[in-house]
Symmetry: D2
């Protein structure tokens, strides 16, 4: 099979991550394969087993986003080429013919349990909730495909809507989570590649490893962005892997590496940091086109360069 | 039972989190109770069911540290009163009498699987690894206490060392994870309380909610710290819960709220931010006593205040 | 004579500086005495010979404003208690009965000559301009009180309007300088004293001596102001007097030392600088009441202090 | 006469400015002509009457350095191509045959008087000091070339050493000023020209006009320098000429416009400022070669640019 048609995602199948994978336009028609861990997913990209991987990077329901971040920070460089934002909507799934009133034993993932406990208490006060390794495994066990946590079969599962379609289950209730605005962010990671063209609604992800851990080190990094009017949308310090004492910063900024302001800020980072890992420029899933601040457009940078050339004679 | 003797931790029992809980000096002699989710753990503190809770906040093996962070960011304020750093050492556990060479079927949590896959491939090339909801559940099923993922019993589990003691299992191999330096950080959260006395080796945790999302908002926050010589040890932007568009910053800094430099920086944050949530000052688990920069000691602040008073007449 | 009624100004009399001195409300009814140099003026305050001194600090026509600044930077501390802005308007003065058309020989100070040369060329193309030590000396010599630069008497002087009144001369033309918007700033310096009450339209002057000369030293100073929302209206680096290699910064900021934001910024300076010299808080001559930025009012500082006290328990 | 051989300086002749002019290597063999005011000196350059001009820019004894600065800030652009640092050493000059003990009447410029008053009081307690328009005029009058301030001839003048040679006077005492370390800085200004080659010990002078007067405007400017590791050696805010309300900043930085770090910082200024006037890059008179900070060498900038090109594909 052509590697370029195969993509990995954090399994098991029928989870939110598969639902996200199905939303990436670039993956339409591709073969999607579940892998058991973030490491396995990412590794499949690095070895060339698959063309790319879909992994959660913010607010994951199941699976650690820190694991994703750490995989991207370390090892062979990868490129993020797209992102998807997926609303987190929990559905109560049962075998066809099951009545809501008959549900006594529910199975789900701990995070889903926390989100849906209030709803269950209110609507099914007599039900108990057992915990399993994933929302999809919960649905699969309800469908009779696999044993439940204690080896038996439950009445209902709290899962992603996709699991209902996949396992032939019926939704007894939808959107039963507490935080109805919850959104999870997934990215498509591939081996390093030339970034796509800027769209005016772009995001750039990079990791800055500070040279030494002194007060003001982060401030120096942020000044590189501020000096070029580049706005951050996310920042997270992460240990670099050698104990807790050495830090790097995973950063998302507005704009594209092809934008003059982003490019120059990145060159600044490159100079003041021990090293900088560029993880890609890609279209924003929210489609927002933030205004470009006065003095920071490509034309402003070009004008300044022309001016400097003239001064230098 | 006296609430003041009961503490919650993220279960199940015999995981790394319970191992961490056992290391908090303040919990010596207390009753430790597992709760199924971070939300449940934290909620037990908020309702007063327990006196405090032990939760992972960095590099958790099982359970999402984002969940912890989000619980601390939102809802009724809590206080972090202590932290523990726990080395992550994976152990291969089996029933007494089992020989390493006989191990064919291993069960563990996905994160542990990722960490130990290389060791298993090298030492037990014929073994398969099944995934369960926690490393403790894996050990329990090996001990015959509960069914395994597919309802049967496995030869060995990859778990925290504590699970061996708890379930009467024997360690066939220790420290089999790839990243032998991995450290997880846990905190003890209680209802708001007067912070302990500064020790010279302290950490302060707070959450800054920016007033509006403009370029330079984070820089303004960091300048409040820089202007007083306060060093950050961790930062993470988090959505505040209403979609992805509004951010807050969870920040750990060196020093104690009673230190003049930390207190003044916090007052600065309070002025430039929409709101600031103080989550506590507590002794650093690593015992590091970072040097106080020139001009930022309590004496320096007192001297400056005396000087200003004189100028004001 | 009561020292408290005597004030010095940079002479000679009938210059712009005396004109400025006459505008200070605090000096109404006081005896004003000219001194030949800025050093002499300032020294008279330091020795107690006079109660205060009027000296130029920006855009002086005659006399070096750097000399003023250096006198304030070094030696016994002084306090600026008021400022005056004086429009610089040059007047062509002659003995009564002189006709403009008859003016052939003009005398003035070099700076005035530069400002008025265009007017003279246009209106009196045949006139020559001789240079003397001050505009007042020029007027005095035209009035026959003293010899002119070459020992003789000139037809007209270019001087401050005040010189006309003082020496009985007639204005043949007014406001003949090129830069009709020119404004000079003078301050009233006294021995250290309790600052007056804040008016909402205040200025504070201070001198910051950096601890060592490293890149970013000035940035650190400015961050102390920025972190409290304090705006600068003037800054000037000056050598501290030991060669050119060591710098200090003379700074004017908006606001009063009694304002919380200014006071805290000054305490910050005190901590990060080798030393800080406070030169006074006084009402702005222009009467501007700049808006106080959100989060920087006295109430905002008080609220933050209350909040911190509660957190500290 | 060839314009390219004629240079102007702030007169009169035999002052410190002429002494400085004689020290510029580029002016060896050129004709040096005194002009009465800074405006006249600068104007002679602008009109092409002379090839360049020597003017004081810091710590002038006679003549306002603000006047120089304002001439450079406004009007047709000029270029600073060299600087000279001149120690300020005051000499007591008399006609040959005069004995120190016979000196009763001294003439000099007010600034020199202030500097030498202590020496005169100690050594010549009975002497009086009259004030004239320049130290050179004082020497000339002592030499009998011109009348003194009151039309008569004085016993001695306090002047620059050069005045002694020029007027055939004898030095009765040397270095009699109070501040024996005083140094004055002069620059050679020409019409705009291609800057000379960088020497490793260079200075760049520019004027930044802020876009609007808001708190933090200066900080933004300085961050452009800080983000590239460029150190300031001088800064001075100046009104732009329309009242006192609008400011610009005259700035000297270490390094040459051809240095990558200086060039990029200047482009940054160009983008964030209303306008930037480049006044030249030229060798430092003090010969200091400040260390280039890590990450800010030309090689570092070239490396970063190569890296970015590769990322952009």
């Amino acid at each position: 099979m052509d590697m370029t048609d195969r993509y990995a995602y954090l399994g098991p199948e029928a989870t939110f991550t598969e639902a996200a994978a199905l939303r990436f336009p670039a993956l339409a028609g591709a073969t999607l394969e579940p892998f058991p861990t973030v490491h396995a997913v990412i590794n499949a990209v690095r070895t060339g087993e698959v063309a790319g991987a879909v992994v959660p990077v913010e607010n994951s329901v199941e699976g650690s986003v820190n694991a994703t971040l750490d995989e991207l920070i370390r090892g062979e460089p990868l490129a993020i080429t797209a992102e998807v934002l997926l609303p987190v909507t929990f559905t109560l799934l049962a075998r066809p013919g099951t009545d809501l009133a008959d549900v006594r034993r529910i199975v789900t993932h701990p995070v889903a349990e926390a989100q849906c406990r209030a709803w269950v208490s209110a609507k099914l006060p007599d039900a108990i909730i057992a915990l399993g390794p994933s929302t999809a495994a919960a649905a699969a066990s309800v469908a009779g495909r696999t044993p439940g946590p204690d080896g038996t079969v439950y009445d209902a599962a709290i899962s992603a809507p996709l699991a209902g379609e996949r396992y032939g289950l019926t939704a007894l209730a939808v959107d039963i989570g507490e935080d109805s605005d919850a959104i999870t962010r997934f990215v498509l990671a591939t081996r390093p590649t030339k970034p796509g063209r800027p769209t005016g609604s772009d995001k750039t992800t990079l990791v800055a490893f500070i040279r030494d851990d002194h007060p003001g080190a982060l401030l120096e990094i942020l000044e590189q962005f501020a000096a070029r009017g580049v706005n951050l949308t996310r920042i997270e310090s992460r240990p670099t892997g050698n104990g807790m004492g050495r830090y790097c910063f995973a950063i998302d900024v507005e704009g594209h590496v092809a934008d003059a302001r982003v490019g120059e800020a990145m060159m600044g980072l490159r100079r003041v940091c021990a090293t900088v890992r560029f993880l890609g420029s890609y279209p924003r899933a929210d489609g927002v086109r933030p205004p470009v601040l006065p003095g920071t457009s490509n034309a402003d940078f070009a004008d300044a360069a022309t001016w400097l050339d003239q001064l230098r004679g």
